[in-house]
Symmetry: C2
Subunit: 219 residues, 2 copies
Amino acid sequence: MAGNGTIAIIGGTGKLGAAIARRLAKAGRTVVIGSRSAESASAKATELGFGLTGMSNADAAQAGDVVIVTVPFDAQDATLADIRPHVAGKLVVDTTVPLVPPKVMRVQMPAEGSAAVRTQKALGEGVRIASAFHSVAGHKLITDRDIECDVLVFGDDKADRQIVVELADAMGLRGVHGGALVNSAAAEALTSVLIFINKTYQVDGAGIRITGDLIPPAA
Amino acid sequence: MAGNGTIAIIGGTGKLGAAIARRLAKAGRTVVIGSRSAESASAKATELGFGLTGMSNADAAQAGDVVIVTVPFDAQDATLADIRPHVAGKLVVDTTVPLVPPKVMRVQMPAEGSAAVRTQKALGEGVRIASAFHSVAGHKLITDRDIECDVLVFGDDKADRQIVVELADAMGLRGVHGGALVNSAAAEALTSVLIFINKTYQVDGAGIRITGDLIPPAA
């Protein structure tokens, strides 16, 4: 069992979830994927390979030491209710972007300020929350190609952020500490901007890079 | 008179304002800088050179065809009240980042959702609003060196955004259309993240690049 124990991907049959699962499993991590339907999750795990196994979201949350939630914004509430009994004391990494169709190119933040803070409120203070992977295009991440995109990682605990930074690095991306969980608003909002840029500039999945010479902090 | 007529920089004695004024004047644009004190503005204009002239913020707003507002968040209300009588029908480019000291590394968005939307409300619907230049480090922009930073430009009118994109390009940066004015929240929030990254990774002015092959839209 490498690194951070078992990593559970909630919503792992979706585009982003499957891509994260595949990259982490390929990097040698122990990964399980969850879905509302255990059968769908199993089928997707078999399709993805790399030793992945599929199960219900609740079972995946139970199995995971780190739990990455990759469901659309409108499925957030129901999904968090499903996993809540199984994540006490664990690190939950929220990837939710508060897109509100049909105007997905328009920033529309929730009343809580960000989806990540909304997740913290839904799961309660006994759960450690980080957020990341907002700006990565799932259809690129599912491939083996190099992706020119940094992953901003937010969370109130530096050690928890560092776990996620290392997961991003293991996936061939660059994880960058972005500060407190409330700062997640920046990356979440940026996703609508990137969708606008994709359309306006005919880009196949625009991303971001932080420029400047970053010297990683001591652990 | 090149390009977009006279460009007025409100708060042009500040770090960001002076840097924008200098780069645009150096690029051959007609630029005036305003300050609360006309004397300070004149002195700064002389110091910066490149044919810049200084005056009060109100006079600069009156002289400008495009009016760029570069004042700190806590000076926004007073400054907008000063220039409001002089900007009807003009394009006002807001650069305000809603930093709330002492916690400037923490995203704290205003109730309106963004400083740019706040500016739109303060100046009224008769004024064209765009926002840009949130993520550029003034102390780097004031020099002649190349800066690795894109400038996201927001506004509800494409032609107005294009004017600002071209100003960014003229300054040696890359302007990128970022969509509706409400999307300004993304770049404004990102500034707190970049300040956090500067501190955490010992960076001298982190910026952002949009990755992917951007094909500029037809005018």
